[in-house]
């Protein structure tokens, strides 16, 4: 149980640009346990998305290894299911066909596929919209479809790249509650990236604050708040105290990144 599902082992990622190298992430080490919801927060440009893309296998580290169940990730890894900010749904496929894409690719029989997609579609609350196309859905429903598509592929971990950033504040709050409910139901491990401290506090078991470029772990908070997803949590003293602490830390980094000298 305490075994790490994902282990960042001293990761450094450099990008070669014409002007010279940029070190996006430096000496980054972190463990994510099975069943844990871990959120990385940090100023824009701190390398959060780079980290996520390395876990998914879209990018490879310049040095160090990312281990999934003890094995280094060397290629695009379907066991690390990605939820993209812009949904990345196939516009020519219905909700059901989008959800069944992964199982179909992986040779799951039509009958099993249909049963499973129905189960997951019901779980994310899209029952009745199976035959709709993504273009007919609202932003929140599109993101539910994207979540559903990844869940149907049965990944070991969900990678969420600011999945709710494009949604309006109210839809966003509801989607956060929904995600918590679904994750609690399925026991999924989640690596979540956001620049919203509230979002991080509502969702996470653990929050990692990153420093600005080169991105590295600045501080790790264990969050003991109740994960009901209820709005009231956000009014407790405990919540506000943590929010203040984390904001102070992030603010420092934002100022550094904007070249504002902190007093």
């Amino acid at each position: 149980m305490s075994e790490a599902l994902i282990k960042f082992d001293n990761i450094t990622k450099r990008f070669s640009l014409r002007k010279g190298d940029i070190v996006a992430v430096k000496d980054f080490s972190l463990e994510i346990k099975k069943g844990e919801i871990l959120t990385i927060v940090g100023a824009s440009g701190c390398g959060k998305t780079t980290l996520l893309n390395m876990v998914a296998g879209f990018l490879t580290p310049s040095s160090g290894n990312i281990l999934l169940d003890g094995q280094p990730i060397t290629k695009v890894e379907p066991r690390c299911g990605m939820i993209f900010q812009n949904y990345a749904l196939f516009p020519w496929l219905s909700v059901r066909k989008n959800v069944e894409f992964g199982p179909k690719i992986n040779g799951v029989s039509k009958k099993v596929r249909r049963e499973e997609s129905a189960k997951y579609i019901e779980m994310v609350g899209l029952k009745g919209f199976e035959d709709a196309y993504p273009g007919e859905l609202s932003g929140g429903m599109r993101q539910r479809t994207a979540l559903c598509r990844v869940l149907a592929n049965k990944p070991d971990i969900l990678l969420c790249d600011e999945p709710f950033a494009a949604l309006d504040a109210m839809t966003r709050q509801i989607m956060q509650q929904e995600l918590l409910r679904i994750v609690n139901e399925s026991g999924q491990t989640v690596l979540f990236i956001t620049h919203s401290i509230d979002e991080a506090l509502i969702l996470s078991d653990k929050i990692v604050v990153m420093s600005v470029r080169p991105g590295t772990v600045k501080h790790i908070y264990d969050i003991e708040l109740p994960h009901s997803g209820k709005v009231e949590v956000q009014l407790t003293d405990e919540y506000l105290k943590l929010k203040r602490q984390i904001w102070a830390m992030v603010e420092e980094e934002v100022k550094i990144s904007m070249n504002i000298v902190s007093s």
């Binding site: 379907p78 990345a88 749904l89 992964g102 690719i105 196309y133």
Partner: protein, 262 residues
């Protein structure tokens, strides 16, 4: 008012009125001998001619349309079968794209007409020569349209498919092809009209059947009525093909009808 779309019904009615006025004016100008019917026969005379050409026992007009259409479709489909797969590969692979692009840039600006001398030397004036002209006239355009359509598929969709476990071949089949299809069909529709101009040119220069041949021989006999019947037949056939193509789009792209605007 300006720039605003009229409804389908109103624009059709106004269009029909416009056409009617144009034809009436033409008819009157010929019937009053302002225009010599030898140079330009009246619309009713053209219709008479068309009826004559379709009801005579050899029904020469219908045969010509069938022959020309067969040539166009054969050459066009050959182009599609070669050009679309090649375009997909070029769209996905930057190295192959860089290697092929200069060759295409040389071939593409050549009018189909300029291929007639070589094709006649190589193939005579058989059917193959007509197919070759249509092929050469449409191939480069199909290749370019397909390459562009492939490259316009959102790269995030490829990533999503990879993340769900798709192999490169599966990405091609389940992401690139359906993703490129709307732009591809638009391109093919344009090229199909180009293919028609190719076959008409080829038939005028060296053939003994087809619409182009019919128009050309009619000119030799100063039969302007027959020339006009031939020309109008081309317009009508292209229009009919265009409507069929639109039907094909509706069948292949059902999601576009439901989600127009996004």
């Amino acid at each position: 008012m300006e720039g605003k779309e009229l409804g389908l019904w109103r624009s059709s009615v106004i269009g029909a009125i416009g056409l009617l006025v144009f034809l009436s004016l033409w008819e009157v100008l010929v019937r009053t001998n302002v225009i010599d019917p030898f140079f330009l026969p009246a619309p009713t005379q053209v219709i008479d001619k068309a009826i004559q050409m379709t009801t005579a026992k050899d029904a020469v007009l219908l045969t010509d349309i069938k022959i020309s259409a067969t040539r166009v479709l054969t050459g066009f489909l050959l182009s599609v079968f070669v050009g679309v797969p090649a375009g997909l590969i070029m769209g996905m692979n930057p190295v192959i794209r860089a290697a092929i692009n200069p060759i295409i840039s040389i071939i593409r600006p050549l009018p189909a007409l300029s291929w007639i001398p070589l094709s006649m030397l190589w193939l005579g004036i058989d059917e193959q020569q007509k197919y070759a002209i249509v092929f050469m006239g449409s191939f480069a355009s199909i290749l370019v349209y397909t390459t562009d359509a492939t490259m316009r598929v959102d790269p995030i969709l490829r990533r999503a498919a990879m993340n769900l476990g798709a192999s490169p071949l599966q990405i091609l089949r389940y992401v690139i092809l359906p993703g490129a299809l709307p732009d591809l069909l638009t391109g093919l529709k344009v090229v199909l009209a180009i293919a028609w101009t190719c076959v008409i040119s080829a038939e005028m220069v060296g053939a003994n059947s087809g619409l182009g041949f019919r128009i050309w021989t009619a000119k030799e006999w100063s039969d302007t009525g027959q020339v006009l019947v031939g020309m109008i037949s081309i317009s009508v056939t292209v229009l009919v093909l265009d409507i069929l193509f639109r039907g094909l789009e509706r069948v292949l792209l059902p999601y576009q009808r439901k989600t127009s605007g996004t």
